[in-house]
Symmetry: C2
Subunit: 197 residues, 2 copies
């Protein structure tokens, strides 16, 4: 279930604690799971990412918001969701592992793209921090049940049920400076079939 939730998401929220004043930050990142690790990347120019790369304790949370649960009472009303929370410390990847991790992240977010786009140059690699967080301490919560009303609320003349939420790709929008004659690649067109949640 942990793998399924991580593989279904595209954006994770990562905690970073500022050493100086103890202020926590929650930063969105693109990521990918690779076996028993989560990979994510940021800029070497980011102080928060450098803090993570130095081994600060962190939490990476991926939440898939799947719908609204309408109970007869507002108290029992809630959301359908799948949430994976990973605790630990990240390690910066270097050399071949770093390049492989960038391929993995690209292919998770944009399947098929790695074979088509230009790969990172040495200068670009040097400007990128790639972090690996092991899947050793984690929890997963899933809410996917119908409304659970109190017995005494079941006779209320109120509609109850679930309104699902779906995430889908829209029509690709070509860049204004696209070369004439370039058409949307088949692997991009295939994303339209990938309706998540």
């Amino acid at each position: 279930m942990l793998d399924a939730v991580l593989d279904d998401g595209r954006v994770a929220h990562v905690a970073v604690l500022d050493d100086k004043d103890g202020q926590p930050y929650v930063v969105p990142v693109g990521y990918a799971r690779d076996g028993d690790t989560v990979l994510f990347h940021g800029s070497t120019a980011s102080r928060l990412f450098r803090t993570l790369a130095a081994g600060a304790a962190t939490c990476l949370t991926v939440t898939r918001y799947d719908g609204l649960v309408l109970a007869r009472s507002t108290f029992e009303s809630s959301m359908h969701y799948r949430c994976a929370m990973v605790l630990g410390s990240a390690t910066p990847l270097l050399g071949d592992a770093k390049a492989a991790a960038l391929e993995r992240i690209t292919e998770h977010l944009m399947p098929g793209r790695w074979a088509d786009a230009r790969h990172p140059s040495p200068k670009e690699l040097a400007a990128t921090l790639v972090l690996s967080l092991p899947l050793t301490e984690w929890s997963v919560k899933v809410s996917d049940a119908p409304p659970a009303d109190l017995e005494e609320d079941l006779d209320r003349p109120v509609w109850a049920g679930v309104v699902p939420v779906r995430e889908a790709h829209g029509d690709p929008q070509p860049a204004p400076d696209l070369l004439p004659g370039m058409t949307v690649p088949a692997y991009v067109r295939a994303w339209a079939a990938d309706v998540r949640a």
Copy 2:
């Protein structure tokens, strides 16, 4: 722009630092903006929420993931997103302010529902922590531009552009124990028109 991002989202990610061991957590919450504050709620049984209620420094981040940006290079490839980050300390609401905040959160997540569903009982109110975080220290980042490739990459025969991502409500699914004859309310049917991002 801050208001627009907060008003368009439904799930925020909140940082909580565990006093004991300094471990940060990132927890998803339903929320609503109310003027110059963000309101969110949790259970009084949650240690992390009690930590927030005691005034711990926190960060509440709302990220709207709007699409994939396919540049000719993987390095310049990225996402379209809108991200609001709010720093500060939350205050627990009590009495009328607490009840009003719960109405506000319900109406943000489920417009029209408050007039229809049963309101919280005193016992349910007592089991709920409602927190208010002021919008005083915050930042907003928006990425909504076409791919920004290096000049030297523009002649590559690679498709470039943006693939938007949209979030939409699916068909309402009635609860298995719904009273006979109850139909989907008009305010719920209206949500289907609310395609976000």
